[in-house]
Structures are given as structure tokens and as C-alpha cells.
Symmetry: C2
Subunit: 361 residues, 2 copies
């Protein structure tokens, strides 16, 4: 196996883009211009769903921030500082979070009224350079985990070129900056199984799903953090592994799967956080009936959410509309753990192989 | 170093206790008695704070559940089944969660109206046998993590006698059933540093706190899950390592530290989830002033919480009352990340060594 290794090149590209911003601004000043930055508009009117990309994307409308306009001076300066700061992060090989960036600005007397203002400038920077903030070392606070036969090679300081197999620790390895930036060396896995819940992730490890089904297991801990979505995309893109997502059978579980597959409107300016070929493998509304699973009644909030999702362009066609209709018909929901009604290993012994074969895995 | 290895013996003791329950009931039936179980009462009137144990404990009041009393039949039967079920878990070396137990009961036609009913029976079982549910393989859903120079030896199936050093993965290793049941083999660490936030945990790893300060790092992910409290206790008890806890400077952060140290009233029937000698090392209200940290105003809810804590017996004396008074005086709170105001590594370069030396570490 020879995966297309990409991450170091990416870092170099990001640094180049950041430096390009600086060079352009210096050039503008030297030419006697008020410096300015142009980027695609992220206003709702410029966000549309792209069936080709299978995710939300930005339209052609652009905005320009110029030091000539007094009201632009503040966000313009903030963005120049942010570009400088994240380049330093990369150069010093340190990582950070959105919150850290907010506090760090104070060390440079750069004013942000609150964290939402600095978060927004970081999103601007993503829009300008076209890379997610993880590529300039700003990571989410939340952590999820992975387990499976994949050997990686670290690139982080102190661990350069060290290898580790991701079956080394049977409780799972956290997905943080080190794994996000690691190279994939080799794997015997032929698929990725993503699981919403910690208890099921542990069950799948205990029942040796990684061996029996040649799978790399990912635990999202509810809604998958961005770095986890990025990691899943890498497994799919670089290693060519199909991805199957298992969640609770309710609108919230469905949407956990959807955000891994098609991303969110908030990330319409990015292409690196989606896995369009990933599949929502269950638990479906129809499974509640077919597998006679213990269930609960949908709450009014669940029903409201389902009706919202039914109009969402990401939910067009196929399994999504079918299962929304099924939920509405049976008015029930259930959890992954409901399979334990037939014994702790029922989900692994019966449901998992049936579903995977149904999906042609 | 020769740690006092305990975990296998514990499992055997738990199984013995469970079997003892069964034997006692059989004996009662053979003697022509209606079978019964006796345990300490967990009603609020029987919970008191024990300054000797430095945690909540149960008083002398007991309750008896007898098959002779119709209203006792249901909880009595549920408890007998639960004891049977968890013994099977141990025997088959499988783990489970509170939710799983609830669904599993349906496989045996044991009726629980909802999960809170089955959770309560599991707490009864903890009370009867005196071990936390993790010892009979019922684990929390939440996961936290550890990183540091500690070599462990696994005892879980498929990993028996395999060793791993907990610096192997620089994003951290999850604390799940495998780590909880692992033996401690050797360490060069001379302290444990517990951190509330994922971002700071990563910063501490990146800045090599584990090397510079010979520390095992624990990430709690907010309120520490029970298995993490149990793991911290083991590090303190079995390896004799002092424990320092760093949280945000607010009543919620304080209480994260307190629950690790003295546990909660809900666990008054247990002795295995506390680390009475652990210390809350910051961020203190006084640090906000002394280190000139960026801060926010306490909310009315924060103030209400502080006034509750000031009357809580666990908060008697020492640093607790002093810092509650400080919070009330300055009416401010701040986060661990606030140190980034002086540069990303300020917390590690300046605050951490000053605080550790202040605490005599």
C-alpha cells in the first residue's frame, strides 16, 4: 500500500498562502495604495448547496476590506495580526485553540471585544487561504478517538518519524494535533466504521470488530469535532477506505452522520471537512421495526427537527427522505444500545454483518 | 519501584461478594425463610460528612428488602438479577454501561420502568458489596485521557501481559476499561498533574511538562468521569504520587477539583472514588489578581453557587474558604487559557513552576 501522503506539503502551502497575504499588503503600501484584502462573502445570500460538490459552497459575491474605510480598519488589522500569529504557530510548531487565539491577541494589544469576534476573523482567514484552521494549528477543544490496524508516522516535535500502530491501546487513541498531522504508513483495514457512542466503541473493540470486519473504528463522542471529520476524510481520501457511520436512530443521530458526510453551512468556504462518499449505516427508523428494538416516542422537538431536515437540501433523495418518512410514520426513536435487548453482542454478531452486506461492504 | 498491585485480587473479591449474595439467598430459601437482603440506607438523613475519611459516608441506619413484603419483591428481584448479570460480565470479561444494563434486562424479562430505576439498583449493589460498579465492569460512557512516563501491563482479553508506555501517543491515551484494569509496572514520574481542559492538556504535552516536571498528565474533560477519579486514586495510592489539580478559576472549576478530592454525596457508600490528599493547585481567585489575568465578571449563578459551596462541609477550612472569600471580594472569574495573554507558554514557564514550588512539590 502506498498512500498519497499529503500533510507536510499542505503545511508548506498554508505558510506560502499566509506569507502571500503579507507580501500583497506590503506591495500595496509600497505602491502608495491603502492596503486591502478581498475574499468571498459568507453572507447567507451567498451560501448555496452544490449538488456537484455534495456540500454547501459559496457563490461568486466577494467583499473587500480596505484600510481606506474607517469601519474596515478594525477587522483588517485583526486579520493581519491573526495571519501573523498562526504563521508563528506553524513556525514554532505549537498548536492552539480558538480561545487561546482570543487571549493571545491581548499580548499584542490587538482588541477583540469577545471570542466570537476573534472566531469570526479566523473564519475569514480560512476563507482567504482556503484551508481549515487545523492546517494553521488552531484545533478544537473536544477530543474523539480511533482504534484499528493503521500504522502512522508522527511529524510533531519530539516524535518525528516514530511509528505507532493504532491498535496499541485497547481503550482508543485520542485524535488531537499529533494524529491529525501524522502520515499514514500502512493498514490492513478495508473500511472505516464511525460510532457516535463511547460505550459502543468499547464494545466494538472488545468484540474485535477491527479484526473480524477489517475496520478502523472511530469514536465521535456525539457531533464529530472538526479534526475528527478531517481525519475521517483523510482515511477515505488517502487510503481509499469506504466509511460507514452508526448513530442513534433519531434526527440528532442522522444529523451527526450528515455533518460528517456533507458538512455544515458554516463551513461552506472549505472543502476539507466532508466525506461525501461516507454512508449513514444506521440505526435507521426502519431498523426499529425490522429488528424489533426497544424504542421511545419521538418528542415534539424531535418531530420539529425532522420536518426541518426534510427541507434541507443535504437531505434530498435516497435513504434520507425514506428514513425521515419512516420516523414520521412510526413516531419512534431508539439508541444504539437498544440492541442489548437481545444480548450484549447481538449488535456485532447480527446487525453489523447484515447491514454491511446490505450496503455492499 | 514495586507498586502494590491490586486489581486482579479486587476482581476476585468482587466475584466472591456477588456469589456470597447468591449463597445467602439460597440458604435462606432452604431454611424455609422468605429471602432478604440488608444494606446501609442511602437516604439523605443517613449521609454525613466524615472528617476522618474526608468524604461523605453512610451512617448506621440499615434497610432490609424481603420477599415477604409485596412492595419489596420488585427491587429484590431486580437486584438478584443485576448481581447475576454483572457476575456474567466479569466471567465473560465483557464491559458494559448503565444504559446497556437497562436494555439487557429486557432480554431476561426483568422489568425496569426506566433507566433511573436500573441505575438505582446498581447503586444498591455497590452499597451491598462495597465496590464501585467499575469493579463489576459497568463503566461510564464518557472518556478522558492520560499521558506520561508510566508503563502499564494490560489484563484485558487479547492484550494479556502486553506492556505499553503512556507516552506512546502524544495526543493522549483514553482512560477506558483496559487502562482501569491495567497493572502499573514502572514510572519515573514523581507527581500527577490533572487538567480540566483539552487545550491545556495538549499544551502541557507540547511543552514537555511530563519531562520537565516528571509528571503524569490527566485530562478530565470537565467534571472527571468516575473511572478517571478511580484511576487518579490508583496513581496516588499504588504509586504514592502526589496529585495537583488545575481548573478554571470559578466555582465550577473548584468543584471539579473537590469531587476528585472528596467525592460526592451520591457516592457516600463507596471509598474508591476519592483522593483526599490531592490538592487544588489553581487557578485560584487570588491568581487572577496576582498574575493580572484577563477575567470576566461572576454571573449571579456563579455567586449563588459560591454561597452554596461556602456552606458545604467539604469546603471547610484552608484554601477553600480563603478562595471562596477571594472570589466574593473580586467578583471575577477566569479560565486556564487566560495565561495566554502573556504568551502561549507562560502558564508552563512561569505559573506552573511557581505554583508547584509554593505547594512544596
Amino acid at each position: 500500500m502506498s498512500p498519497k501522503v499529503k500533510s507536510l506539503d499542505r503545511k508548506e502551502l498554508v505558510v506560502k498562502s499566509l506569507e502571500e497575504i503579507g507580501r500583497r499588503i506590503c506591495g500595496q503600501i509600497e505602491n502608495g495604495e491603502f492596503p486591502w484584502i478581498e475574499m468571498k462573502s459568507r453572507s447567507t445570500s451567498n451560501i448555496f448547496y452544490s449538488p456537484e460538490l455534495r456540500q454547501y459552497a459559496l457563490g461568486e459575491k466577494t467583499i473587500k476590506r480596505s484600510a481606506r474605510v474607517v469601519s474596515h480598519l478594525r477587522p483588517f488589522t485583526q486579520m493581519v495580526w491573526t495571519a501573523y500569529f498562526v504563521r508563528e504557530l506553524i513556525r514554532q510548531r505549537k498548536t492552539s485553540t480558538l480561545r487561546d487565539v482570543y487571549y493571545s491577541a491581548q499580548a499584542y494589544d490587538i482588541a477583540f471585544d469577545d471570542q466570537s469576534e476573534s472566531d469570526n476573523i479566523i473564519t475569514d482567514l480560512e476563507t482567504v487561504i482556503g484551508y481549515p484552521r487545523e492546517d494553521f494549528n488552531v484545533f478544537p477543544e473536544e477530543r474523539s478517538a480511533v482504534f484499528g490496524d493503521l500504522t502512522i508516522r508522527y511529524t510533531v516535535p519530539g516524535y518525528e518519524n516514530r511509528r505507532l500502530n493504532l491498535t496499541s491501546h485497547p481503550d482508543g487513541m485520542m485524535i488531537g494535533p499529533a494524529l491529525t498531522n501524522a502520515k499514514f504508513v500502512k493498514t490492513t483495514a478495508d473500511k472505516v466504521i464511525v460510532i457516535e457512542k463511547g460505550a459502543m466503541f468499547t464494545r466494538f473493540i472488545e468484540e474485535q470488530v477491527y479484526k473480524k470486519f477489517n475496520a478502523i473504528l472511530i469514536y465521535t463522542s456525539g457531533q464529530a469535532p472538526r479534526s475528527t471529520r478531517y481525519f475521517i476524510r483523510r482515511l477515505n481520501n488517502e487510503l481509499g477506505l469506504p466509511v460507514y457511520i452508526f448513530t442513534d436512530a433519531d434526527p440528532w443521530g442522522m444529523h451527526i452522520a450528515m455533518v460528517i458526510i456533507s458538512g455544515s453551512a458554516n463551513a461552506a468556504h472549505l472543502r476539507e471537512l466532508t466525506t461525501p462518499d461516507a454512508e449513514w449505516a444506521g440505526v435507521w427508523a426502519s431498523d426499529i421495526v425490522n429488528y424489533k428494538l426497544p424504542s421511545e416516542k419521538l418528542s415534539p422537538l424531535d418531530i420539529k427537527r425532522l420536518s426541518e431536515l426534510s427541507k434541507d437540501p443535504r437531505y434530498k433523495g435516497g435513504i434520507w427522505q425514506r428514513e425521515i418518512a419512516n420516523f414520521m410514520k412510526i413516531k419512534k426513536k431508539c439508541e444504539l444500545e437498544a440492541f442489548s435487548r437481545y444480548g450484549l453482542t447481538h449488535i456485532v454478531d447480527k446487525y453489523l454483518p447484515e447491514r454491511l452486506s446490505e450496503l455492499g461492504a
